[in-house]
């Protein structure tokens, strides 16, 4: 499936990745090539087949736990890797003027 520059720019925007103007054509070719290759799935008859959403073995029961807080009180640890923090919060560029 061929992708155009506008579509690639839109996907980049949705993915929150800045793509430079001069990269759009090459990316359109790469992504279009992959999409053309996966297109072969269209030939498979999937009528009445339920989508497989995970690979947990059928019949294996997954455990539930009590719905209680079992962790926390580690604010400094949580913030420890932040590129920028202030007053116990993650800090980001101003959102509201």
């Amino acid at each position: 499936m061929a992708l155009d520059r506008t579509t690639v720019a839109h996907i980049a925007r949705l993915a929150r990745i800045k793509v430079k103007e001069h990269e759009l054509d090459a990316l359109a070719g790469e992504l279009g090539g992959i999409l053309a290759w996966v297109e072969q799935l269209q030939e498979v008859n999937v009528d009445g087949v339920e989508p497989m959403t995970g690979s947990v073995t059928p019949g294996m029961k997954l455990k539930m736990r009590e719905d209680v807080v079992d962790d926390g009180g580690i604010r400094d640890k949580v913030l420890g890797n932040a590129p920028k923090s202030a007053a116990g919060f993650f800090a980001v560029p101003k959102v509201i003027e």
Partner: protein, 489 residues
């Protein structure tokens, strides 16, 4: 004492117990090997001080006769496992400086059982690749080279640092993770054993997520027994991973030595792909003969949807990745690149922080999940996945284990296949089906190509039947008698 780095985990365990050498001597020998093999670029981070401190503690326990299952065994850890206070990069620029404040469950269990960490191994960025060339920290070099050709070869991927370090005798074993073949393919390329357990066998907690319905941790070692030893420590239910299954972890070692008499071995005709080399085909044939000679019965089987596995994977894995990797936005950890607005900060950070392959997959994943395409791509891929899984369920009504080659080629040169993503994806043609179906698989070194590179055979078993997998793998290992060693370290 270079002899210490040639031991298997099983032999090292015996040697330590018999006090033929100390854990400290064993750790020192590996730290020296780690320094000697630096040209291979195996480690992103070396932690010799940790290895030596753990060894000292192990010596104290050994002296008291209180050895744990992996007491004093020096291991390397793929840099996808979070290790408390130790840089964890996932091979990506975007995790610059990230020191997790917690330890992954799998590594915590290895340390609980007495193992020592030598360092964190290099890998394809976010485990996306089959060559360890997409790492931000430069490619890892395979200790193997083609006869009469000194071009550096890839160690496979994504767990290529782990395969290279074990092959180069700079660790007794290593952890890997396998989303589409990332343990088994590098194991085949480096002439070692690589095992991917059943989905849900090992906790994924604390492992940097790539594609959550496919990712699974496993051991990479120089013998089948060593893989069985390591897996027992790595496996088990973990309340912090809701997909980890609460079922007893068997003593896998006890399954060894039982042979394969009467075992039915499936040979799937769809794995005889176009362009498969004659020597690989011969090796596969020899594998069938080895198992037959040991009393197993070969059975021709069909897995009709095999050819759709790679395109299915390249919808599902990028879709899950685009969601999982949304967290890298410059806010809570790692790299931040400034921007005039919050959105621009996100976009700049992700543009600079992700390499080309990761960008490609995040964008494909974003596209197939976007409005208007979700049903046509993502839901359809999940339906085909169900058919691939059903192929295996039906085959396992007739057979106990399946034998295939691990990878369609031997290790290739660094830079080869770099321009064509789909050519690179084809590396996983024999392994990716196993992840889609959630089954256990193992690669065993089984021979050398005409130009002197290792070739692997893969065995696949029913879900949670790792014991049969190990039994059959041991028979292949013994029959193959793979004793060749790489020269390039």
């Amino acid at each position: 004492m270079t002899g210490l780095t040639d031991l298997t985990i099983a032999a090292a365990r015996e040697g330590l117990k018999a006090k033929r050498f100390s854990a400290t001597e064993l750790a020192r020998a590996h730290v020296a090997a780690m320094e000697r093999t630096r040209a291979l670029n195996v480690f992103v981070t070396e932690t010799p001080e940790r290895a030596l401190a753990a060894a000292a503690a192990s010596d104290a326990r050994l002296a008291k006769g209180e050895a744990r299952p992996l007491e004093g065994i020096p291991l390397a850890i793929k840099d996808l496992f979070c290790t408390e206070g130790v840089l964890t990069t996932a091979g990506s620029h975007i995790l610059d400086g990230f020191k997790p404040p917690y330890e992954s469950t799998v590594t915590a269990q290895l340390w609980r059982d007495g193992a020592a960490m030598l360092g964190k191994t290099n890998m394809d960025e976010f485990a996306m690749g089959s060559s360890t060339t997409t790492s931000y920290y430069r490619p890892t070099i395979n200790p193997w080279a083609r006869r009469g050709d000194n071009r550096p070869l890839v160690p496979g991927g994504s767990s290529g640092g782990s395969s290279a370090v074990v092959a180069a005798r700079a660790a007794l074993g290593a952890t890997g993770t396998d989303t589409g073949g990332s343990i088994r393919q590098p194991a085949a390329f480096a002439g070692i054993v690589g095992m991917k357990p059943t989905y849900g066998r090992c906790s994924r907690w604390g492992i940097v997520a790539f594609a959550s319905s496919l990712d699974q941790a496993g051991p990479m070692t120089r013998s089948v027994r060593d893989a069985a030893i390591m897996l027992r420590s790595m496996a088990g239910h973990d309340p912090r991973d809701s997909t980890s299954v609460d079922t007893a972890v068997p003593d896998y070692e006890a399954a060894l030595g039982q042979g394969v008499k009467g075992l039915r071995v499936g040979i799937p005709k769809e794995y005889r792909v176009d362009g498969m080399s004659a020597e690989l085909d011969r090796l596969w044939q020899r594998g069938i003969e080895w198992l037959t000679a040991a009393g197993a019965k070969p059975v021709d089987i069909s897995l009709p949807h095999t050819k759709y596995a790679l395109p299915t994977y390249y919808i599902i894995a990028p879709a899950e990745a685009s969601s999982n990797l949304a967290r890298y936005d410059g806010t809570r950890f790692g790299l931040r690149v400034a921007g005039d607005s919050l959105t621009e900060m996100y976009e700049n950070t992700r543009a600079e922080g992700f390499g080309k392959e990761v960008r490609r997959r995040v964008m494909i994943g974003t596209y197939v999940l976007s409005a208007g395409y979700y049903d046509a791509y993502y839901i359809r891929a999940q339906r085909v996945r169900a058919l691939i899984s059903r192929d295996f369920t039906q085959a396992f009504q007739k057979v106990d284990v399946i034998l295939t080659p691990t990878a369609p080629s031997t290790a290739f040169a660094i830079g080869e296949k770099a321009d064509d993503p789909i050519a690179m994806y084809l590396n996983d043609v024999f392994t990716v089906t196993v992840n889609l179906a959630g089954l256990p698989g193992i690669s065993v070194p089984a021979g050398l190509s005409a130009d002197g590179l290792p070739l692997g055979l893969q065995l696949i078993a029913k879900a949670f039947d790792e014991e049969t997998l190990f039994r059959a793998a041991e028979v292949v290992e013994e029959a193959a008698g793979f004793t060749a060693r790489p020269g390039g370290y």
